[in-house]
Amino acid sequence: GCSEEASGGGGGGGSEASACAPEDVTLVGQVRNESNPYEASWLDGGDAFAEQVGLEQQRLTYDADSTKQQEQISQLLAGNTDCLVMNILPNGDSDTLPIVEGAQEAGAFLVTQWNKPADVNVADYDQWLSHITYNGVESGKQIGDALAEAIGGSGGIIALQGILDTGAAKDRYAGLEESLEENGDVELLDQQTANFSRDEALSVTKTLLTKHGDKIKGIWAANDDMALGALAALEQAGRDDVAVVGIDAVPDALTAIEDGTMTATVSSDGPWQGGIGLAIGYCVATGELAAEDISDDDRAWFAEQFLITDDNVGDFTSPVVDEADFECDNVFSRSQGAIS
């Protein structure tokens, strides 16, 4: 016959379970891969936090493969989950829910970042402590505005979209559309996807450069990798009159802003993101912070972000992990408000 659950099943959604001893807590950070600087720095931030509390972080990567991410997580949740803290970067919006449900059932403490379907409510779950993201619409608009300003308020631009079926790509593009509405004289000549990839951005930009030629005054890219690809394309085309903006504040983009080849980017703080998720989970697991006490506004929130241009780029070139950010009474200090 059939039964609901594998016998000997796990912890069950027990948030009222007695607090874990700090040394019993298992910390897991999971990102797509360690072969890009942003996500590598995320995991390093996680390690830094783990060291701070005398633990070790288990570093997981899933090669940007949704199924592999789910597979790893269900395997993880099949182990000992009593004091398991997970700081997860879901591959796409659709990957968040199964992770959440799995953690809820197994009783693991979960913080997610970046991707979450808009209609899923974090407060509906006990074990899903918080979802942190940056306001993509905001950042898309900020760099859109910066781009408009850089080209003098009028002229043609092209847009490089991210992976089309991710929330980040859509939000950022929506931000660009808002910005375009406000800057009526800026014309979107073309938009293509380059899948967040530097290499694809290079060839797409080259093609668009030949298609639109001198009409292009600016390039809006949904992340810095693509912006850097676009910069390479511009260099190869011998064009130095095109403004380029991106998002993420990866080190190379900051350098480019310092050099003046790139106009603007928006900060996302990888090391902080890697640490903060674990910190929230750790605080709840050890009982220093009660899940019930986290206000609804702090269950799903936008983290503080900054538009970086050559005015303020110096402040961001050497990011430091501030241990104080990870104190239990301080973990929500960077909140810019709840995700509406």
């Binding site: 891969n33 360690e34 072969s35 890009n36 600087p37 590598a40 720095s41 390093d44 979209q161 089309l164 073309d190 938009q191 293509q192 996807t193 990839s197 530097r198 290499d199 290079l202 060839s203 797409v204 080259k206 093609t207 668009l208 450069l209 030949t210 298609k211 639109h212 030629g213 850097l228 690809g229 390479a232 260099e235 190869q236 011998g238 990866v250 080190p251 190379d252 350098t255």
Partner: protein, 315 residues
């Protein structure tokens, strides 16, 4: 050249014709240059894979080899991570690394008797692993003037990289036509068992072909690094299927024994022209992949239809 070989070039001409009619932007000299430049990396990778496909084997190690060589070269020439400044020697070492990985595929194929599908898939993972180890969290950017210049400087309107790719196609063609290695690769695809009956030891040639292919992929990885001024672990992402597609579209049979470097060059142009043309005529990015797939199938069927036979074997 038989009629079968003429199919892909005709398809290429037809597709260029159609795009030229549909889009004035497409038929500019600048865009022609752009197409040639955009084809450079894929052409070099496809050159390598052609030899493997000619033998009837397959090679999925492209992403791994390209990634490893891209990072390797970025760390060997002048860069922001260390004090190396090996210049051309660095490029050579990266290519040798690719050759070694290719050699590994070949050795596993002939000594363990594991199909190339698996050995190369394995080697791709190994290559990516090595690349990730070398990457170790910090993006290597190159400042080497020569390597950066390859992507930027032009000769007769084409980037140096494009000339390098043309050189590779020429060398590949010469190898295929005039070297024992190339002819034997072709023969292995035709009838491997017969070579053994004639007293030819095929194993060393197979290993050599994979080694040669590995060097081509590695050079392609170096070229990506030159274009992006940075060594990326993902430098070869997607180039495996793109290269196989280009070779197949160009008329190389996956069962081996037919096609070659020139066929592949035509295939590469077909694929790149399609990519470029669809952007130029403004097909929605959502649909581009699908339209491309449709045209590839149509082009191949148009090429095979005239020579289809009743009892023909299609795999």
């Amino acid at each position: 050249m038989s009629l079968g070989d003429a199919g892909p070039p005709i398809a290429l001409v037809v597709i260029i014709g159609i795009f030229s009619l549909l889009s004035p932007d497409f038929r500019t000299i600048a865009n022609l240059q752009n197409v040639m430049d955009a084809a450079a990396v894929l052409a070099v990778a496809t050159c390598g894979i052609s030899f493997v496909l000619m033998m009837g084997s397959i090679d999925l190690s492209v992403p791994g080899v390209m990634g490893a060589s891209a990072i390797a070269v970025a760390l060997l020439v002048a860069n922001n991570r260390n004090d190396n400044d090996l210049g051309l020697l660095g490029v050579l070492v990266a290519v040798l690394l690719g050759a070694a990985l290719g050699c590994l595929s070949g050795m596993a194929l002939v000594s363990l008797k594991v199909p190339s599908f698996m050995t190369t898939l394995g080697v791709s993972a190994v290559g990516l692993g090595i690349a990730t180890l070398m990457f170790s969290g910090v993006q290597p950017n190159i400042s080497d003037a020569m390597l950066r210049g390859w992507a930027v400087n032009r000769f007769l309107g084409l980037a140096y990289l494009t000339w390098i790719a043309l050189g590779c196609v020429l060398v590949g063609w010469l190898i295929q036509r005039y070297s024992r290695l190339g002819r034997y690769a072709y023969a292995i695809g035709g009838a491997e068992e017969v070579l053994a009956l004639s007293g030819v030891k095929v194993a060393p040639y197979k290993v050599a072909v994979f080694t040669l292919a590995g060097s081509f992929y590695a050079l392609a990885g170096v070229m990506v690094t030159s274009q992006l001024s940075a060594g990326l672990v993902q430098a070869g992402k997607g180039y495996d299927f793109a290269a196989i597609t280009a070779a197949v579209v160009g008329g190389t049979l996956l069962t081996g024994g037919r096609g070659g470097v020139l066929h592949s060059a035509v295939g590469v142009l077909l694929v790149i022209v399609l990519q470029n043309g669809l952007v130029q005529i403004g097909v929605s990015p959502y649909w581009q992949g699908g339209v491309q797939g449709l045209i590839v199938v149509a082009a191949v069927s148009a090429a095979v239809l005239p020579q289809r036979r009743r009892n023909q074997v299609t795999k």
